[in-house]
Symmetry: C2
Subunit: 389 residues, 2 copies
């Protein structure tokens, strides 16, 4: 029994855009509605994610504005913010709403502007991103997110022998996948040498271990499993969503490289879906840094602890491997417009499970898992979806 179904998807290219949040959002919404075969008057509610519009362009209270902009003025519209896991959490609430009968047809999406098009340079934007770290304990020390994930990754290297070369292999793989994705921020192949030769940002991360700041938007249409048949959109089922948090600040974590909230969220999602990690045909995970992909793929059970580095080096997580990871290119190559990332993962799962992913199609994809993380691995939402083929 599915919890809900996705019947339509849309997203902008991720990259640098000189357009407003409303314009970006509309560019994702209308294709999603067309795909679903749903008219604007059939949408009952908007669940919207944006992480930092207040800081980047003095824009809050976006939900009713965006509903108005896409012709849905009047519907219940709400904004969620949980750092980089913002729109995955909006999606979770939408699934609960259709499952419990609160709404029949929910539009879920996210939009964000993070590039210098906002008028903020990299230093200013880094401070904005740091707002998702502990205000009193972490921010004053200069612990921005490259440093935060470097600390977690260093511990993983110490405990499991993960190497910088293995991390670089993740960047290379995700750039390769991104080169197959017409909506990716970065569309060119890179080499391990290029990654290792790029400047060190926060040891062990080189510049090319880090995802970019992107502008973009994504949207999906969510309905109940039963209602899905009455629309034109080819449904993909949501069989489980888990959501957990970990202690903040990071220094209080029981174990730095475990990313416990991902383990808790994954256990919940697999349990709801009555499945296991072994049954997944591919995964989209939150690779804000290459080291984050290592920890994510272990936490959601694709590999034993310490197994992710060797797995990527062996090519197992490439599109033609036994468990492709981030066929979209991931945050690393597809890009990372914060509040749009969670729903974009759902877009990728839906397109893949429909068999509509084009050059980056995962062969025989029947079920998949998405992992969206916020802050210092503090919020994690894990989603399991299954095709009906």
């Amino acid at each position: 029994m599915a919890r809900a179904s996705v019947i339509g998807t849309g997203m902008t290219t991720f990259g640098v855009h000189d357009r407003t949040l409303a314009e970006l959002f509309a560019e994702a919404v209308f294709p999603a509605l067309d795909d679903a075969g749903v008219g604007t008057t059939e949408v009952d509610a908007l669940y919207f994610g944006n992480a930092m519009g207040g800081q980047t362009e003095n824009e809050t209270h976006l939900a009713p504005k965006l509903a108005s902009h896409v012709g849905m003025a009047g519907i219940p519209a709400q904004r969620f913010e949980d750092a980089c896991a913002t729109s995955a959490n909006a999606f979770k609430h939408a699934v609960q709403a259709v499952e419990s009968g609160v709404h029949d047809v929910v539009l879920v999406g996210g939009a964000e502007r993070c590039t210098p098009e906002t008028g903020l340079d990299t230093a200013a934007m880094t401070r904005v991103f740091a707002s998702a770290a502990h205000r009193q304990v972490e921010q004053p020390t200069g612990l921005t997110f490259p440093g935060a994930f470097a600390l977690l990754t260093k511990r993983h290297m110490y405990e499991h022998g993960t190497t910088e070369e293995q991390l670089a292999e993740i960047a290379v793989k995700n750039h390769y996948h991104g080169s197959l994705n017409p909506r990716a921020h970065f569309g060119r192949d890179i080499s391990v040498e290029e990654v290792l030769d790029s400047p060190v940002v926060a040891d062990p991360f080189h510049l090319m271990d880090c995802c970019p700041f992107s502008d973009g938007a994504s949207a999906v249409v969510v309905v109940s499993e039963d209602a899905a048949e009455s629309f034109d959109g080819d449904p993909v089922d949501v069989t489980g969503i888990g959501h957990a948090t970990d202690v903040v600040p990071m220094a209080d974590k029981a174990h730095p490289s475990t990313t416990q909230s991902a383990r808790d969220a994954a256990a919940e999602a697999y349990d709801q879906a009555d499945t296991t990690a072994d049954a997944m045909d591919f995964a989209e995970v939150h690779d804000c840094f290459t080291g984050a992909e290592v920890m994510a793929t272990e936490a959601i059970g694709l590999f034993e602890d310490g197994g992710a580095g060797p797995a990527v080096a062996e090519g197992r997580t490439r599109l033609d491997g036994d468990i492709p990871v981030n066929p979209s290119g991931g945050l690393k190559a597809k890009g990372h417009p914060i509040g749009a990332t969670g729903t974009a993962q759902v877009v990728e799962l839906t397109e893949q499970l429909r068999g509509e992913a084009g050059d980056r199609q995962v062969a025989d994809a029947q079920r998949a898992v998405a992992h969206n993380l916020g802050g210092g691995a503090a919020t994690t939402v894990v989603t399991v979806m299954e095709g009906r083929a």
Copy 2:
């Protein structure tokens, strides 16, 4: 059949506080848990509201941080933002969650810092508040919220003959109520003459027609109607919650002084509760400006259109009137820490419906309605609650 029950409440005084958001929130949470007879380990989820922490103090991703701060690290924790209706919307989602069995015990609350204690002066904070207006159409014209509500109120005066003296009577009434509320920002009586002699901020509003910027936090514990009996906290039932939005920007509204989203939300809430406005014993409404109280009380059906001004002048909305409005002092006198206001209204309804409101107790209060508004009357959440006495 109630949708959910509130079994515990807590809030800080509203005013000027030199404390962090986490400290303020904790000061609301622990009394709420004590009141409910609920331990920290019994709470299943946190639904949290904060509107502008990113802008005021570069603090986002607050939900897991605050959960950690109050000893609940690990639970699903999420932040909502819908301008001044932020925590009413968090509360709506919490009610849906316990009603549908997603969670058993949910902690809901809000916290905000809006005073110069943040380091921002009135001009800077006015710009922050304006972020809830349309970024491209309203903000560049200088249409901040005193001006926005002045426009709506001017239209109401033109159509219905509402007078500046009637508006001033609302300020006087709410200050009187506030003088009876030990947690109110403003605790002294004022006169109609004082209001009319205070400087004009945006015609027809004088300074004393406007609510203050406040710091503060509020929290409630929400459980299902059935589960309520198993806790020590005296339950008050949530029988209806409606949520609607109106078109953004304000210039596109079908009618400026109607505040249509309030009418839609109220109709939904009364319908769920199988009741009518006539059955309400009192109301807490979003009086960010005196004119907003006029429009709110008419929109939720306490008076005919045009009837609110005369009603307040006749004393009908005073504590000893036939339909007391804002016995807490309302935003005008109790204060308005944006993200904490919605839940604070629920705190007031709960205390009144338990008969525990002290000097400001509404006589024989059995059922009541709360109206929480965001932006240019774009988001409105209306909640109906009933006591079990």
